[in-house]
Symmetry: C2
Subunit: 338 residues, 2 copies
């Protein structure tokens, strides 16, 4: 039996029971095709197979590489690339090979790229308030017409209310989600098609307007969503080893150093935490320096909670499914890169 | 001829002429074995071969994987793992195979790990002011004795003045570096051995006390060091593609979105910049949203400067050596992971 103490650190570890509870809870709220799980948070086809086992036939992707990897893994029944891309030749090749690939478009250029690259199906990406991709709602119908004129099948619309996902006040999150989805539904009236795709873990309990929910973070979870009280458990941690301990000295308090640094952590949301073990002082390339809450020894293992899961996972080659200190399975993070 | 316009984005691109000028300038200041280039910033054996061609026989590494990869690449003449590790079996295996591997130690536990794992040579890592790894200077001699008692050869000391690297005032940086190195030299007097290893790109022009300089960032460079005026050029950028453009609308100014997001950028030093092209608004997983300085079109390429190179490189599988828009070589970032 492989134990977590045998793992090279830093290492991603996933609590098998928390993961399973998260997958089951979301599948109850959004069963079957009403959930189109987003793979960008976990980038792991083995985990996507678990989601498929909960009854979800289609998936959401953020990169061409994710679409390719999902198709290779036998999960190409209905893949949505919920992102604008210009280099669509690789997507067209997947369609040739029998995968169903739908791509988001929000401009004449991305429509042309889809048609030229051999993609046959698109969603019109609508700006619902987040200043990122997405066409203005009033212009969505004309873009759908342009896409159909290029021979593309327009399956409907998508719109991501990303700016609302982590709003702490649930009533405000609900109210603003309704407003954002009103924009999406207005665009849908002009565009047509059967799909209204949107949402994320943070709005998954309150968004009642989409026909399919794109949530992804719920599987491994993120501390920002935990703070917002969305009701899923933290399944992913970074396991580290304490490599150096310095006792208090004069006015300098004691501290310890673990091997979980900037190259093992997504840092855009700030420092990680080490719950129950100490207060993080700072991170450097290979290390986190922390003030321990109690005695600590060199060689001790610590569980670090990254401030943002998605870019954390993208730094690791594999994740380990664990129960207690037993390693049940090791999964390659096989959807990294572009 | 491969052009940068043919590259899948986001992509790391390295200006061949700036890189070569950086390598040559550092080799003039620290020739031959007086420079022990740190590979942690670039994690690329092809780039390390270029550094070796400038006359530097030994290298500094931060992880076991880096040591392994350098040995496999034929660069195992004299590898220093300037970091504390407990799991030394893989290092001992490299020594068995003929590589010269020296590891940093700062505790009885790391001494024991080195001896038990089959490593034969160590440096005593001394705390010179950065609260991270390193033993107190007054205790360094006793640790060296303990290491020798375990049969290890003690080659000398190392101490990294990381807290001083990016100090903007050169006189202060010089003065504090002298103080930090005084601690290291005092420890060296107790430890013995021929090596006093330390320094980095930020102190490489002012640290006159070490026998070997561990600089690494100078090759690709970092905007924090550029701001500190250390005199090397920015060789690395992340090439991106504009995938969406939104014109001004009411009170909302226009903006554009490129495919260089949190999974392509080290974010611990904050947002990247897009010099000469626009002001960055924010980054999300796959995107950077920016206010363009002038007209911008979907499909246009942009060069993004990450705020911190080291964790940026760790997110990419390869880097492309370029001159203008011509791709000269493509190098795997083969020292990633642990």
């Amino acid at each position: 039996v492989l134990r977590t103490t045998d793992l090279t650190t830093p290492a991603l570890v996933v609590d098998a029971d928390v993961l399973e509870a998260n997958l089951a809870a979301m599948a109850r709220r959004w069963p079957s095709a009403t959930l189109r799980p987003h793979v960008k948070a976990h980038k792991t086809t083995a985990l996507a197979h678990r989601q498929a086992a909960h009854g979800h036939p289609g998936f959401t992707c953020a990169t061409i590489r994710e679409v390719e990897g999902m198709a290779v893994a036998g999960l190409g029944t209905d893949l949505l690339l919920a992102n604008e891309v210009l280099d669509t030749r690789r997507l067209g090749a997947l369609v040739e090979d029998g995968a169903r690939v739908t791509v988001a478009v929000d401009s004449p250029e991305t429509v042309a790229a889809a048609a030229d690259g051999g993609v046959r199906e698109v969603l019109v990406d609508v700006n619902v308030g987040l200043p990122r991709c997405g066409i203005a709602p009033a212009e969505a119908g004309a873009l759908a017409d342009a896409a159909r004129a290029r021979g593309l099948s327009v399956r409907g619309v998508m719109g991501y209310e990303g700016h609302l996902q982590a709003l702490p006040d649930l009533a405000e999150r609900t109210r603003l989600t309704e407003s954002a989805m009103a924009l999406l539904l207005a665009a849908h009236a002009d565009v047509g098609g059967e799909i209204v795709s949107g949402g994320g873990t943070g709005t998954s309990a309150v968004n009642t307007w989409v026909t399919e929910m794109q949530a992804g973070s719920y599987a491994l979870m993120d501390s920002a969503y935990t703070a917002a009280g969305v009701g899923y458990g933290q399944a992913l941690h970074v396991l580290g080893t304490v490599v150096s301990v310095s006792p208090p000295r004069g006015e300098m308090p004691g501290y310890a150093v673990a091997d979980v640094g900037l190259k093992a952590l997504g840092m855009d949301h700030g420092n990680p935490t080490i719950p129950g073990r100490g207060q993080v002082w700072f991170c450097s390339d290979e290390h986190v320096t922390f003030g321990p809450d109690g005695p600590v020894r060199v060689g001790e293992r610590v569980l670090v909670v990254p401030a943002h899961i998605d870019p954390t996972v993208a730094l690791h080659e594999r994740m380990h499914l664990v129960r207690g200190d037993e390693v049940l399975e090791t999964w390659p993070v096989d959807l990294r890169g572009w």
